[in-house]
């Protein structure tokens, strides 16, 4: 794919992959090889993280549509060879975590995806995109699960920075769901819910 045309985004805006049983199957080994290389690339290119994780879920019985989505990532990479993470000097040593989730992101089993990223000053140092292990019943819960994994990662980074002599406290975790933030001081919804259901 050296001479392929470049495109501006690694995914189409209506990108929702499913098992796609009706389409032609493609060579599993070839698809897995491609996904393996792309997963390796996510270590330095967070911009393709979301779509690579999406494609990696269909490594058993891949179909033409999954292969096309993976080829689209290659086309995007063709046009972004010079794009990379930039770490400027003289930045403040403040750690901020961002946590987000997409409620029912996976159309197959209705699970949500947790997404967290951590910025030291203004540089991205840690990022994660993971399908949650259990089905969240509301956006609040999906966001709260994401905030939990963000907190776990924050603690690890805090310890790491502590080893380098940078002591941080009250690290901000930024979440875009007010109910999830309020949940930390009220009676948990999980206790209230069975009562409502009776």
């Amino acid at each position: 794919m050296d001479k392929c045309k470049s495109i501006s985004k690694p995914f189409s805006t209506s990108c929702h992959l499913d098992h796609d049983v009706a389409r032609n199957p493609i060579d599993e080994t070839k698809y897995r090889g491609l996904i393996g290389s792309l997963l390796y690339l996510t270590a330095s290119r967070p911009n393709i993280m979301f779509v690579v994780c999406m494609c990696a879920r269909f490594q058993s019985a891949p179909k033409e549509s999954h292969f096309n989505a993976a080829k689209r990532i290659m086309k995007y990479l063709q046009g972004t060879k010079v794009v990379g993470l930039w770490y400027p000097g003289n930045v403040s040593m403040s750690l901020t975590g961002y946590s987000n989730s997409n409620f029912v992101g996976c159309k197959i089993d209705r699970k949500s995806t947790s997404d967290t990223c951590h910025l030291l000053g203004s540089s991205l140092i840690s990022w994660q995109c993971k399908k949650q292990a259990y089905v969240a019943l509301s956006t609040t819960k999906a966001e709260y699960i994401a905030a939990g994994s963000c907190c776990a990662q924050t603690l690890w980074l805090r310890q790491q920075l502590n080893d380098f002599g940078i002591l941080l406290n009250k690290i901000h975790i930024l979440c875009d769901n007010t109910s999830a933030i309020n949940l930390r001081k009220k009676i948990p919804l999980c206790i209230q819910e069975p009562i409502i259901l009776k």
Partner: protein, 65 residues
């Protein structure tokens, strides 16, 4: 019901403990400035590029643009 929510309950106490210890603090941020958005959903081109710029994923040959 319980088996599913059990995990969330544990998470609740985990997060709550660290907030009361003072190690972490949860703050609200509007969706416009939520930088983790680009890892979540397929976004439109302009929004996608804006978030990448904010995260420091830029053309390394001319970083000051």
């Amino acid at each position: 019901m319980h088996s599913r929510t059990n995990h969330i309950e544990i998470r609740h106490h985990f997060l709550r403990e660290h907030i009361s210890n003072g190690t972490c603090e949860i703050k609200f941020i509007g969706t416009d400035l939520q930088l983790a958005d680009s890892f979540t959903k397929p976004l439109a081109k302009d929004r996608f590029n804006f978030l990448l710029n904010e995260l420091g994923i830029i053309d390394i040959n001319c970083p000051l643009q």
